[in-house]
Amino acid sequence: MKIGAIGGYSFPGGTHPPQNKELTCEHKIHPGPAVKEVAVMLSQHIGAQCRPLVRAGNMVQAGQKIGDSDAFVSAPVHSPITGKVKEIALRSHAVLGRSPAIVIEAYPYSPTKRSDFSFDDFDEDKYSAEQICDAVRQAGIVGMGGAGFPTRVKIEPDPRLPKETMIINGCECEPYITCDYRIMLEWTDRIIAGIKLAKKAAGCSRVFIGIEDNKPRAIEAINTALKSTSNVDDIKVVPVKTKYPQGDERQLIKAILKKNVPTGGIPPMIGLLVLNVATTAAIAEAVVFGSPLTYRVVTVSGQAVARPGNYYVAIGTSVSELIEFCGGVTQKSAKVVLGGPMMGIAIADLTTPITKTTGAVTVLTRHQIGRAKFARRQTACIRCGRCLDVCPERLNPTKIAHAVKNNALDVAESYYISACIECGCCSYVCPAKIELTGYIKTGKIFLAGQKKKVPQ
């Protein structure tokens, strides 16, 4: 099979938002705030919500499983701290709205988790594929790039859909975010160990690590580490062109293998498995040290934050506590976004806890918000076609958005609304400042509601 093509590894469409990564890219991963209270959401992944295993008043140890589910597509949650369960109450979730969480009060002097695992004497032959899958499941690992699909379900071999190639996603195409970049630089051995384990569990025969070419140091670090490691002949680093949304798995597959994932399909349908670099690091920690996913690296960035940086944060820490830890917000008026500015979700409730999928907290200034569409007056669509040019999925955003606006969902469907990956490129480039992505998301929700009402 031909790998890559003339013109570099990239995909058609996409756009180039200002990266703003220099705010945090030199900030090493520091320990996050020593929290007094965490709220661990019972649903931090795609799939069934966990049922709590503890009750108010129970003592919990750091790393203890506190929520689990019998469903196949699910992932357990663990307590990041040693302390006492205060209550099981509703907390804001960026996507699900108000959703149940286990609130734990820390004991005084409860230590924070150390992030320095040593992988010097790592040997993947010590672990069988079953052991790896089981450890991944027990550690509650989910896709940490943002989607949060339970990793065990992804890596477990499926005889109907054999996975021959694994792609590791180190693109980090969203502006501001540098957590994956720091992980690649600082935890290189952990990533390689995780890749070897995931490869063994899934039965893949080759691995490509896709990294955007604006991160030459990360590419070099991984290449150097690969040279000094044995058994890595089938693992290759692929520098891909810096372009948003290169980190979307469908675009990454297009860039590296020149293959399209079928519309509405998933990568295993064409024999692929895509994992985020942070996820592979978590796999290595889980399998080698039995360490559950209770902490993650979070980039706190944006021009409105006093001290931006990358922090190793307990899952369940509230956003406000994390921002205070970074020196607070320097402005009166700002937008707090979980994730990057292109796909992240703006939150109004700063007590929203960090979840397994929160890679970044971006605080945008009034000035930057002012440049976004809603602050300017929208004009009518002038049919300039820029949204069609940038759409990586070759859709017609303006037609879909206007169909949704006029409540013509059948028309929206005839323009393949469900194929939208919600990357936000169309809204970003729109000169008329129309919320194309917003309309499309709304249309998808309407359609899902319609389909539920139809009796089966």
Binding site: P12, P17, P18, R250, N260, V261, P262, T263, G264, G265, G328, V329, Q331, K332, S333, A334, K335, V336, V337, G339, P341, M342, M343, G344, I345, A346, I347, L350, L364, Q368, I369, R371, A372, K373, R377, T379, A380, C381, I382, R383, C384, G385, L388, E393, R394, L395, N396, K399, Y416, A419, E422, G424, S427, Y428, V429, P431, K433, E435, T437, G438
Partner: protein, 336 residues
């Protein structure tokens, strides 16, 4: 202290590009043609352009007032319509008629459909078509540019003193087609066609000025090259066929491309995004249609120039072209 938290749907940043900036770019792109009009047809040309722009803007303001809609003058689209309409008028066109045409262009060409983005036909061309239908005589009276080569043929008997009007190259070409001779007169004018010292509409005469403006738009990525290339290519092919049949009766293809409203159409009228198709395939069909229709009118039809009707006709079928040239998603059509 954070006291005011903003919330909205993603993405939270946006490119510093706006409708106003696109329209401003078009105005800048038209500037060389306006300057050329001022040079060749002197102060009256500029007065004509100004009156068209002012009446277009005033009409849009009035329409918004009547429709109780927010003021939309900020997007500059009325200015663009006014300039393009003025540039497609003969140099000695009376101002009162130009104002009527400009008002019609905005009111009937654009605002009755719901304003910018909703119009089916190019407003400037609607205005021009209205003027052609209403004031046919005025629309075909061509003043000689102020700086004209005296050796060039005049439509009136050359008394040697002051021939006030002159046939446009395309009118000569029509004459040549009828008499099956004399096409070489236009062919000899190639250099004049290029720099603009020939008879014709205000903004049409100087190919050079239009090319500079068009190039600016292409470099600024305000327009893409699909439509200009498609129009020029198809017009070139049809003109070549005619030329090969009878070089005495039909002017050279290059003369066709440089004369009349061809270049104004290619860069500023056919590329109007509102009335052109959205997908590249659609743009090519649209452009080929405009080029072919123009040449058909020029070579076979009764009028010497066909750009206006070609554009209006293809504008009308744009919704159909859009329906025909739908993109399939990158991952293929869903199998459901």
């Amino acid at each position: 202290m954070l006291t005011d938290i903003k919330v909205s749907c993603s993405p939270h940043i946006s490119e510093p590009l706006s409708t106003r900036r696109i329209m401003r770019d078009v105005v800048i792109g038209l500037a060389p043609a306006v300057a050329a009009a001022g040079y060749y047809f002197r102060i009256y040309a500029l007065i004509l352009i100004a009156s068209c722009v002012i009446s277009a803007v005033a009409t849009e303001w009035l329409c918004n007032l009547i429709r109780r809609k927010p003021n939309s003058l900020g997007d500059f689209s009325a200015v663009v319509t006014g300039i393009i309409l003025a540039l497609s008028l003969p140099p000695a066109f009376p101002i009162w008629a130009a104002v009527i045409g400009s008002c019609f262009a905005i009111a009937i060409g654009k605002m009755v459909f719901g304003g910018l983005g909703a119009n089916i036909l190019n407003p400037a061309m609607v205005g021009r078509a209205f003027l052609t239908a209403s004031f046919g005589m005025l629309m075909t009276t061509w003043t000689v540019p102020a700086v004209i080569d005296s050796a060039m043929p005049k439509i009136a008997a050359d008394t040697g003193i002051d021939a006030r009007t002159q046939a446009t190259p395309l009118a000569w070409s029509k004459q040549a087609i009828k008499t099956k001779a004399g096409a070489e007169i236009v062919n000899k004018q190639l250099k004049d066609l290029f720099i603009g010292s020939v008879g014709g509409c205000l903004g049409e005469t100087s190919a050079l000025a239009l090319l500079i403006g068009g190039l600016y738009l292409v470099i600024r990525r305000t327009i893409n090259l699909h439509i200009p290339l498609a129009v020029l290519l198809s017009a070139f092919v049809f003109a070549t066929i005619a030329y090969l049949i009878n070089p005495q009766a039909y002017i050279r293809p290059v003369s066709h491309l440089l004369s009349g409203g061809m270049l104004l159409c290619v860069f500023f009228i056919a590329t109007d995004p509102v009335t052109a198709p959205l997908t590249p395939a659609g743009m090519w069909i649209f452009g080929i249609g405009v080029g072919a229709m123009t040449m058909l009118i020029r070579i076979v039809g009764e009028y010497p120039e066909g750009v206006m009707y070609a554009v209006l006709l293809m504008n009308a079928v744009t919704p159909l072209i859009d329906k025909m040239c739908k993109f399939a998603p990158a991952g293929g059509k869903p199998s459901v």
